[in-house]
């Protein structure tokens, strides 16, 4: 098999107060996959994704992105390869205008003005936000902010897009538009979510993390259909939903 886009081996992490957040995590994500990362609150989902771009460094075990092992020398290149879209777009859009915010990443890569402009325009076009390019982010709707946040990460031309709770606080129409956007992108994706119907709709594969361990890894339908597994890890489909029989 080809080099995995993300390869995590034996990763453990304990917070300074002694809480064990991750315990011996092994996982591989291959190019072109769209994977849901499921798990209850406090399971270690955020801690895991912060390891994927070197915001947190592995205490034990290793993380590699398309063959490049994460360490202090490779961290900047890893951050370019792994684009994280955080939960609250207000945290992510910190520049005075949309254009400058999307340009922030490419400028940090040291690209010249024309290359930066080309990337910004392409990224804004991909998420359909070209018309708000010169507006300040605080004048956008929540759904627009989410799209611009995704554009800011796409402008880095990453190899994998990691989204933390992308559907939170979106109204149903914005949620559907986000689905259309994500499924149209030709990029590997890891989607952290509590929104199980969304995971079923968008991701063919899912992993369940609980108490810092990967406890299940398989097709999203198999996992959502395994009632025993779901119950034991505090996962529930919303009222009225069930996995269609195949």
């Amino acid at each position: 098999m080809s080099t995995p886009t993300i390869s995590v081996e034996g990763l453990s992490y304990t917070y300074p107060d002694g809480t064990e957040a991750l315990a011996d995590i092994d996982l591989h994500i291959h190019a072109g996959e769209r994977i849901a990362l499921l798990g209850p609150n406090g399971a270690g989902k955020t801690t895991l994704i912060l390891h994927m771009n070197g915001i947190l460094m592995p205490q034990q075990g290793s993380v590699a992105v398309t063959g490049l092992r994460l360490d202090h020398r490779s961290v900047m290149e890893i951050r370019r390869r792994v684009g994280i879209v955080f939960q609250d777009p207000d945290d992510q859009l910190f520049m005075p205008t949309v254009w400058r915010d999307v340009a922030f990443g490419p400028q940090n890569l040291g690209l010249d003005h024309d290359a930066v402009a080309a990337r910004v325009e392409r990224a804004l076009d991909t998420v359909g936000m070209t018309k708000v390019a010169h507006r300040p982010p605080n004048h956008l709707s929540f759904g627009q902010k989410r799209r611009v946040a995704i554009a800011g990460v796409l402008a880095m031309e990453p190899e994998i897009l990691v989204l933390d709770e992308p559907t939170s606080n979106l109204d149903p129409a914005s949620r559907r538009e986000l689905t259309e956007l994500l499924t149209s992108l030709d990029i590997t994706q890891l989607i952290v979510t509590h929104d199980l119907p969304y995971a079923a709709e968008v991701c063919e594969r899912a992993m369940v993390i609980d108490e810092g361990r990967i406890v299940a890894d398989g097709t999203t339908f198999d996992i959502l259909g395994d009632q025993q597994l779901m119950r034991s890890h505090r996962l529930e489909l919303p009222y009225g939903f069930s996995v269609p029989p195949r």
């Binding site: 915001i55 945290d91 992510q92 005075p96 205008t97 982010p137």
Partner: protein
């Protein structure tokens, strides 16, 4: 921005006895505000900010030194009256200048302008963050107040103070935590300690000429007065 600075300097350099010169400055600025199509209300509400300073300056004629004159039975120092006039006139005119600047220029353009004028990047970045997050923090504060009111906390001056102070404290902690999350997001997009420069077009010559015309006119008048003395 350069024009505004030069204009303010011209106003400050005006000798206080040169009444007609103040009239010229005022005329120039009023023309600028009219050209910018500001409403009277727009300008007046923004001028309110100088009121506390003027109230403080009112003490000057009461306690000022030198020769005194009687106005409505109150002994006022002539020196102090001149000082009051000087402060009032210069503050109003200076403020008018910044109103013209702020009213005609987008905040983002102002920041980009500071960048082009080689104001240290750290300063413009801080100003940029402030402008960006003032709405977010104000929104949080409003929601917190709504939540307090919804649970029966009502505005009674002193009784209100304690929970309000706690609220402000909580807001500070929240903003601090947001700062950390913003930093994580910055680091995730390759931030390594320096903010990228704003990419802006230089202002065309015509803009320079048009905007500088205002302060240059003021300076010509000031220079004439100083020479005549």
């Amino acid at each position: 921005m350069v024009a505004a600075l030069v204009m303010v300097l011209a106003i400050v350099a005006t000798p206080r006895e040169a009444l007609w010169l103040f009239a010229i400055h005022a005329a120039v600025l009023v023309t600028a505000t009219v050209t910018a199509r500001f409403g009277v209300r727009f300008v007046l509400t923004r001028l309110v900010i100088e009121v506390p300073f003027l109230l403080a300056a009112l003490a000057l004629p009461l306690f000022g030194p030198g020769e005194r004159m009687d106005v409505l039975g109150i002994g006022l120092s002539i020196e102090g009256l001149w000082a009051l006039f000087n402060i009032a006139a210069k503050a109003t005119l200076g403020l008018l200048t910044s109103i013209v600047l702020a009213g005609t220029t987008e905040v983002t353009d102002l920041l980009a302008g500071f960048d082009r004028l080689r104001v240290p990047r750290v300063m413009t970045a801080i100003m940029g963050f402030m402008v960006r997050y003032v709405d977010v923090v104000a929104g949080e504060f409003t929601r917190m107040r709504t939540a307090m009111r919804s649970r029966g906390h009502e505005a009674g001056w002193l009784g209100q103070l304690r929970p309000l102070a706690r609220g402000v404290g909580a807001l500070f902690v929240r903003s601090y935590e947001r700062g950390e999350r913003v930093y994580l997001a910055m680091a995730s997009r390759g931030y390594a300690g320096t903010m990228p420069a704003a990419v802006t077009e230089p202002a065309p010559m015509a803009t320079w000429v048009a905007t500088l015309a205002v302060p240059v006119a003021a300076w010509v008048a000031v220079a004439a007065v100083w020479m005549a003395r």
